[in-house]
């Protein structure tokens, strides 16, 4: 996430003001969370143009729903879920088209406490992983992204994708196998 860091108290104040119809406060929330929301959308739909529409609509949906946001979860978590649901709606409506998903990435390896060596190694292989992830079939990619990238539980995935927990596990298994093959068989061994 880039932009000015806003503490949890400040953000709660912005959320309260936005819930009362203060569009300037909501605009500040959009500014703070735009990249994060756009990234979730890109990962879910694997298409930057569609991701743009998804993330825009996600914020519009959030604006309409924010009076009912009770603050049980963090605003970012709430936005994340709205974005995933919006992406699923768009994917149902439009057939996926692919664009290059590798350019204009902002990388913040220190945010995860990576060592410089590990960060370098990870950054070197990231384009391959991003490509392989983008090439996954939609149903597999959604589950892999939600579970392995964003750490959702099988129960949460099952609820949001409206599939059984068993189906979520099967898709995750298949998705990981496809990624493993794409990274180590088709492109040769990685260093």
């Amino acid at each position: 996430m880039s932009g000015r860091e806003v503490g949890p108290v400040d953000e709660q104040a912005l959320v309260r003001l936005a819930a009362l119809g203060d569009d300037a406060a909501f605009g500040e929330l959009v500014r703070i969370h735009q990249h994060e929301v756009y990234t979730v959308a890109v990962r879910m739909v694997s298409d930057r143009e569609l991701a743009y529409d998804v993330s825009q609509e996600a914020f519009v949906r959030a604006w309409r729903a924010i009076p009912r946001f009770r603050g049980d979860a963090k605003f970012s978590t709430w936005m994340h879920r709205i974005t995933v649901n919006t992406a699923l709606t768009h994917l149902e409506r439009r057939k996926r088209t692919k664009t290059d998903a590798l350019d204009a990435m902002h990388v913040d390896p220190e945010a995860d406490g990576l060592t410089p060596e590990r960060a370098g190694e990870s950054a070197a292989m990231r384009p391959h992983l991003e490509t392989a992830l983008g090439d996954l079939a939609d149903p597999l990619r959604r589950v892999v992204v939600l579970k392995d990238v964003y750490g959702w539980s099988h129960a949460e995935i099952s609820e949001h994708l409206e599939i059984s927990i068993t189906a979520a596990k099967v898709r995750l298994h298949r998705g990981r196998k496809v990624l493993r093959s794409a990274l180590w068989e088709h492109k040769g061994e990685r260093s």
Binding site: M1, S2, D23, F26, G27, V30, R31, Q34, H35, E36, V37, Y38, T39, V42, R43, R48, Y52, S55, Q56, F59, V60, W63, R64, A104, M105, H106, V107, D108, P109, A111, D112, L114, S122, M125, R126, L129, E130, L133, V144, D148, V149, Y150, G151, K169, L172, H173, R176, K177, L179, R180, L183, W184
Partner: protein, 118 residues
């Protein structure tokens, strides 16, 4: 690759560490370089996927103003208000219909009682 290696390879996508394989398969993996390499690949894959959560794509220029424009977009507002109006009209028509049916039922009951022989 023997039969045990194939079983290990089938299980590895679902587990975090070979120790979760169960004692027999874990013992096999401890002595099988092929299975150890396969386990290392899946560990690396899961770690790299998790690290993607720290990678952020930059939203295109003008993203915020575009969102803010959509919040006050008259077309969207009209559509939203139209939906609300239609919804409230449907509710009003349903309520009126229910009232008419209830009134007619009550009248029919009264008429029947009045016409009934004492």
């Amino acid at each position: 690759m023997n039969a045990t290696c194939r079983i290990v390879a089938m299980r590895l996508p679902d587990i975090g560490d070979p120790s979760e394989l169960g004692s027999r398969l874990a013992r096999h993996t401890a002595s099988c370089l092929r299975c150890q390499a396969e386990a290392a690949r899946y560990r690396s894959l899961r770690r790299d996927l998790a690290e993607l959560s720290t990678v952020t794509y930059q939203a295109p220029q003008g993203f915020v103003s575009s969102v803010m424009g959509r919040l006050t977009d008259p077309v969207i507002e009209v559509a939203r208000r139209t939906r609300q109006t239609v919804k409230s009209r449907v509710v009003a028509v349903a309520a009126a219909s229910a009232a008419v049916v209830a009134t007619a039922g009550t009248l029919a009951l009264i008429v029947r009682r009045l016409q009934a022989p004492v």
